[in-house]
Symmetry: C4
Subunit: 240 residues, 4 copies
């Protein structure tokens, strides 16, 4: 594991922050993390700051329990427990996003399922589970601000790439940072699509077979690179 | 009370104008004021100008009755009565916005309540009262252009952070300027969310307990600073 | 009548083109004209070009019959007949816009009336008549491309500030260029609002008395200047 | 056939890529091709790259079977079969776009027809056929990634200017590149309009006669040039 690898991971994490801001997935609140390529028991996450303005100097390293390795007085996100708990539960996951994308929220407060309606959304998975803090924790400030809530959410997520949080937002995961970003964007796009299409009548969703094959294709190196290059350019970093 | 404090308040007021324009809360009409940190019986408000182009030289000082302290021939907003009346009625309020955010308007002309549907909107309060000029004042030009209407509106607002004006818009208040801006933006966001979600069926709103705890958390210094830094950057003043 | 007056009118007409493009009222097709301040039987209108890129050199002068005064080989809009016919029928009108603002179009192909739902929209008038080319002219290319169609449309417009064209768009008029621009923008805004609000149930429109008083207020010099200054800045001409 | 003609075609193809990105028709996936003006059995298409960042050096030449003439190691789009198959079937077609414009997608998964609701949309044709990969090919990765699927899609397209792909997107064709771009943009605009208007009740679509006459007018050199100049300027190439 070279220093170059870590540096690359951190630069990509800054880009991921900017991309998720540019694409309207994350606004003033929400975050994105990446598991350390040097140590699977560590992850990187910005200090408490809006993704649109996150920079290299904002990135902090944490243990999976959420302890800062070298805090330097920087204030971490209250909800970092969410990241640690998912990294503990899912060894296949190397990146996590948490967002309040507006189009996704209606599916957290109604009974309408958020299933892939077009091919690009296959990556969100066949079913998107819903986590509600109320049954287990009662009235709260709605944040996933300790490991108990983090574990509960990770359990609801199960083996899926995405989960909804009632009255709050969503989490998205991926085998790579690029994949988690891709999943987050298309979760939002699919939600917008379902909201628009439901007015027209009964919807024909993708079949499980289509979701499987299309998801595999979209997670390929070729598709991921093409999308990432586009998102980087749109976020104002053309040529990076 | 130093001159620096006033200068800081005025600079923040200019930023608040620009932010509310950038976020689509206020367009050509609408305004934002702050109570003077030097004198609770005075407030600052721009001359009659669209918030997107308000500058330091546009800010005027008023008595709560709406008299300009040093007008210099600048034309004030016709609706400044709204600000004065609220500052009279609410000693806890140090900033007021008045806007016509489009998403909020449907809730002023129908029976559908505008209640917090996601955690960020807790700050708008559990219920948003509606003020209608018609019963008390009959046909008008719809403006809150004298203290009688201002007092009537302040009475409808009561102890809430927000109120709707029928066929017109809304007022939002806060203990600080940043808080009033935050409340205004999330009132708009929540309205957009309810409009989108209602198509899907019955909605599960936040509980009163969740609204209370989440609102407290969002009004904290940490959350307010994070959001303000983001809004300032988006309004083109990165680094201020 | 000085040359300065004409020059001012032409500069404002260029701004009006850019503003209507910036505000999403007019896209690649649509236009705006102003009656000549030097001769009520003449009007100014761009050559056939999208408003977003119209410049001073594009402005042509026409007789009310649509003859170019000094064409210089420039190709005029096919639909200029619409402008001439309205100027003939309405001596109180000094500016005309024709647009296909998307939000307005649903009201041209359904039975839902487009009435002022919020105070800013009072300027569109209490009722917005619909002109349909089909009964009088049968199948056409949908353009108002001769004076016969122009007169028919002007008749449908009557004394109103706005009219709808079935499957096509709208015309808006004003006593001044600024007013016609203002009416056009708020016609679009009101249409968007009705589209959003109708999902929530029965709508409470403004009363005729409110429409009258608010419209008078909004057509005042003060309100018009404030809005124009804002629109000019947004169109990228801050300080003009 | 001069080299200049080819160069012009390639420059216009780059512009077409940028325009379709700017207008929100194509995002990270989707593409646009043009038949070679030098050889009707060849077409030009970018290498596998998002249209927003396509440049001259990305353009490749293909046989109608999808073989690269001078690949230089550049990776082609997996779905180029779609372009070749349409060029084979339609000698009148000189340009093809494939996109996932969000507004169009609801019409691919419901029974609601996508018919011209306003005059600008006449160019999409009276009926828009739907191609579904499922009956003929079963579960797939949803891509038109071989000639068998390309031929099947071309058959569904028939003599129409547009076709829908279930759970995927659309194809649009034109006698010229500019026309295919124009059709693509107005297919999206019409879809947005139908989505908005359907809430209001029964819709009055254009008559077949109106579609015919208006489509002819819009495909004229004058209308095409006016629109293209506008789209080029909006895509940031003012003056090209």
């Amino acid at each position: 594991m070279t220093t170059g690898t870590i540096e690359h991971a951190l630069r990509e994490l800054v880009l991921a922050n900017r991309i998720l801001a540019r694409e309207g997935v994350i606004d003033d609140f929400g975050h994105v993390s990446v598991r350390s390529p040097a140590d699977p028991n560590r992850y990187f996450l910005s200090r408490s700051r809006s993704p649109e303005i996150v920079d290299l100097a904002d990135i902090m390293e944490f243990t999976l329990e959420g302890e800062a390795i070298d805090g330097q007085g920087r204030r971490p996100y209250a909800e970092r427990a969410l990241h640690g708990a998912i990294y503990m539960a899912r060894r296949d996951v190397n990146a996590v996003t948490h967002h309040h994308a507006r189009a996704v929220l209606p599916f957290t407060v109604t009974d309408v399922p958020l299933k892939p309606l077009f091919h690009m959304a296959s990556v969100i998975g066949q079913e998107v589970p819903l986590w509600d803090s109320q049954p287990e924790f009662g009235d709260t400030n709605m944040l996933v601000d300790d490991l108990a809530k983090g574990h509960s959410l990770a359990k609801a997520l199960g083996k899926n790439p995405t989960a909804l949080l009632r009255g709050h937002g969503a989490v998205c995961v991926g085998a790579s940072l690029r994949e988690a970003v891709f999943v987050s964007i298309y979760m939002k796009e699919n939600a917008e699509l379902v909201l628009a299409a439901r007015h027209l009548g009964e919807l024909q969703y993708l079949t499980p077979g289509e979701i499987g094959q299309t998801g595999d294709m979209l997670r390929s190196q070729l598709a991921q690179s093409r999308s990432w290059e586009y998102r980087v350019a749109r976020a104002g970093f053309r040529g990076l």
